[in-house]
């Protein structure tokens, strides 16, 4: 036991003495959260548009000012009739051009009808769709409020919408669980596998194996510091999410911590498994980076919803542990559900942990023989 504690101390020192490792461990989560929480966002605002107003009357001016005061649009360019719309798009100056035909007000008053053209730069299709939706919404809203105040429309179906669990539609709600899954994978799996395979590569593993320490103690000694660091990180991410970005924890905090602990254990056993397979650090790093990081970011539902993916990718996503963990965290934090709603996902994680541990033991034995 005494030897074990000494060994453990050495492992902690290794990690804390290397500033680069510390930066990776504590820098990445904070930077990631800041990026996703404060910088990048899918919410569209202040999109630059151009106005091509061939009429310049009361109504076109009013509609223009409605559009520009909505917060979604800012005026990037005022076009004159005959000016080349195409070249404005080609230079990437604006995302949409709103065109009013000549004698707009006159047409509207006389025929009760006038056309607005929304030309969108659909090279970014998502933004184009959202911008045209916003703009036509604002315009029809204007007509309803200003022009049709006293007119009863027949047979109107009114859709009342409730956005559950995230009324403000904030993207950070979606990212906090994803970042947590990613960071825990990064630290638990990648760091562990690299640190063990480094020991193998340098030949110090043999020294350790020849010492009175039992193999299980060696593995525990390697893993414990990362377990602790991962746990601290999980806490940091949750605290930052709650206090800086206002993400709620609707469910039980203890359940959340318990599930995080389970996920960390799973990730550590995966890390050990990788290190039993990888002959050196380089390979361990490649397996972790290409095999774990990219799929975690792309296929686990972290940024892009799994249900929109083609079938083969949806099938692949099922073997990724973060995919299940993300569901668990979202359920606990945002929906406030208890274990009843996530027992299936929890079982999957438990099953994965056992499989990884079993495989590692098998590989380890083969190596010793």
């Amino acid at each position: 036991m005494k030897q074990f504690i000494g060994f453990l101390r050495k492992e902690f020192l290794h990690i804390f003495r290397d500033p680069r490792t510390m930066i990776i461990i504590f820098g990445i989560p904070v930077v990631q959260l800041m990026l996703f929480g404060k910088v990048i966002s899918t919410d569209i605002q202040n999109a630059k548009i151009a106005i091509l107003d061939q009429s310049h009357d009361n109504i076109t001016r009013k509609i223009t000012s409605k559009l520009l005061s909505s917060g979604y649009f800012v005026l990037g360019e005022e076009l004159l009739p005959g000016e080349d719309v195409e070249s404005v798009f080609r230079q990437g100056k604006v995302k949409m051009v709103v065109t009013f035909g000549p004698e707009f007000e006159y047409n509207l008053e006389r025929d009760g009808k006038a056309d607005v053209q929304l030309l969108a730069d659909a090279s970014d299709p998502n933004t184009a769709r959202i911008l045209t939706n916003y703009a036509s919404g604002i315009i029809s809203d204007y007509v309803k409020k200003e022009k049709l105040q006293n007119i009863q429309l027949p047979d109107q179906i009114n859709v009342e919408v409730r956005m559950l669990y995230n009324e403000g539609l904030k993207s950070v709600y979606m990212f906090v669980p994803g970042i947590m899954a990613m960071i825990l994978m990064l630290i638990s799996s990648m760091m562990t596998s690299i640190s063990i395979s480094k020991e193998k590569e340098l030949g110090t593993m043999e020294v350790l194996l020849a010492s009175p320490l039992k193999p299980i103690q060696i593995v525990l000694g390697k893993v414990t510091p990362y377990l602790l660091l991962s746990f601290i990180n999980a806490l940091t991410i949750i605290l930052l999410g709650v206090f800086v970005f206002g993400v709620p924890i609707k469910g039980s905090f203890f359940l959340l911590m318990g599930e995080s602990f389970l996920f960390i254990l799973m990730a550590l056993s995966l890390g050990i498994l990788i290190s039993t397979v990888a002959p050196n650090q380089m390979v361990a790093m490649f397996i972790s980076l290409l095999g774990l990081m990219l799929p975690t970011i792309l296929l686990s539902g972290f940024i892009f919803p799994i249900q929109n993916m083609p079938l083969p990718l949806r099938i692949v996503s099922n073997i990724l542990p973060p995919r299940w963990f993300i569901v668990i965290i979202r359920n606990i934090m945002l929906k406030g559900t208890g274990i009843m709603y996530i027992w299936k996902e929890t079982m999957v994680l438990i099953f994965m942990s056992f499989t990884f541990i079993a495989l590692s033991i098998k590989n380890f034995k083969i190596r010793l023989e």
Binding site: D124, L169, Q307
Partner: protein, 372 residues
């Protein structure tokens, strides 16, 4: 000049012998094009709807079948109790609950007004919004139809009407893959170029061969050129391979001038490889290089606008993006490939990439000393 020839010859032989590297050069573009482009999509499909039809009228049934018939929505389950629907959302089985309250048809006919409730799982705000707007437009279309059916009017005409006509230029089908593909190409070129060149330099450090070179009369610029040129060639190969894949698999239209694409490619690569070489002159081991590049690339890529619009970022972040080479190159690729922008349209990006390239290369040249 002759020296450079020998240096390049050696670098190319080394690339040829490195099986891991060769596999990466071929596999990464395929992986990225086939996995990343398909995975990274906001195109909504398969929204599962839970229907709570308390009205059970012919109108409510028509509306339900209209929704089910839309390519985006599938009615998964039904019940009379809205709480069952919420429960399904909690269980992640459904994404949306449509509640048609009792008296829907009657209200619509007698009072000209009726309400529906739509409960949307909004944890993923983006998808929730798109899903809601699709549902609203299906319902809106349905609304127009019934007005026509019931009143026998061709279509109701309010006294004032402003029609908005939307036209989607460059991508009228709103094919999201066309937007992602050039973005992914930029990513591809960056990852390949940066990783290969920086690990190749730091490997010489680890193996001690750099010391042997440092006692020879080789010039700094010759040595760094040896680390730049082969990897620029490889990255450009991958760029064309990626473009070819995108063309074959997604039918990506290539509107602009390919010469412009590759010209900017070279300019960008000089800068980004210069950055990679700078990182590897500072680091001692391949592991350090990997970590440092991972850290910076993560920030560069996320801020480049590949997944999310740059305009949505706060102003200060957009200002910082001016020194993000990935941002400029991603813009160039999308503008040229999708919109056919000319060189004249890209002056700003050209100047920015030139300045960044010169800066990074100078840093690498300054930092790399032929001393140990």
């Amino acid at each position: 000049m002759k020296t450079l020839f020998y240096v390049l010859q050696k670098e190319f032989i080394q690339v040829k012998r490195n099986k891991v590297m060769l596999r990466m050069i071929i596999m990464i573009p395929i992986m990225q094009m086939l996995v990343l482009v398909f995975a990274a999509t906001y195109d909504l499909k398969n929204v599962n709807v839970f229907l709570v039809d308390q009205d059970l009228s012919s109108t409510s049934r028509k509306l339900a079948s209209k929704i089910d018939a839309s390519p985006f929505f599938t009615i998964n389950n039904t019940s009379f109790n809205p709480e069952d629907g919420e429960n399904e959302i909690l269980n992640n089985r459904d994404d949306m609950v449509l509640v048609i309250p009792k008296g829907f048809e009657r209200n619509l006919m007698r009072e000209d007004k009726a309400s529906l409730q739509l409960l949307v799982n909004a944890i993923d705000g983006q998808s929730a919004q798109i899903g809601y707007s699709y549902a609203a437009s299906v319902i809106g279309g349905f609304n127009k139809n019934i007005i026509a059916d019931w009143k026998g009017l061709p279509e109701f005409k309010p006294p004032y009407q402003i029609n908005t006509v939307s036209r989607f230029w460059y991508n009228s089908e709103l094919e999201y893959k066309w937007y992602m593909a050039p973005g992914v190409l930029a990513l591809l070129v960056t990852l390949i170029g940066l990783n290969l060149s920086s690990t190749s330099l730091v490997k010489e450090k680890e193996d001690g061969t750099i010391e042997q070179l440092n006692v020879t009369p080789i010039r700094k610029i010759q040595f760094l050129a040896g680390k730049l040129i082969p990897f620029i060639v490889i990255a450009l190969f991958d760029l064309s391979f990626g473009l070819f894949l995108a063309r074959m698999v997604f039918n990506l239209p290539i509107v602009g001038n390919l010469g412009l694409v590759f010209g900017f490619g070279v300019l960008y690569l000089i800068g980004i490889l210069g950055l990679g070489l700078f990182i590897s002159t500072v680091a001692d081991t391949q592991q350090q290089v990997m970590f440092v590049t991972f850290f910076f690339m993560m920030i560069f890529i996320l801020m480049s606008g590949i997944f999310t619009p740059v305009e949505s970022m706060p102003q200060w972040a957009q200002t910082i993006d001016q020194i993000n080479p990935v941002y400029h190159f991603m813009r160039v690729l999308r503008m040229v490939v999708l919109k056919g922008s000319h060189f004249g349209d890209l002056i700003h990006e050209f100047v920015a990439l030139c300045i960044l390239g010169v800066t990074f290369l100078t840093l690498a040249l300054k930092r790399y000393r032929k001393t140990a």
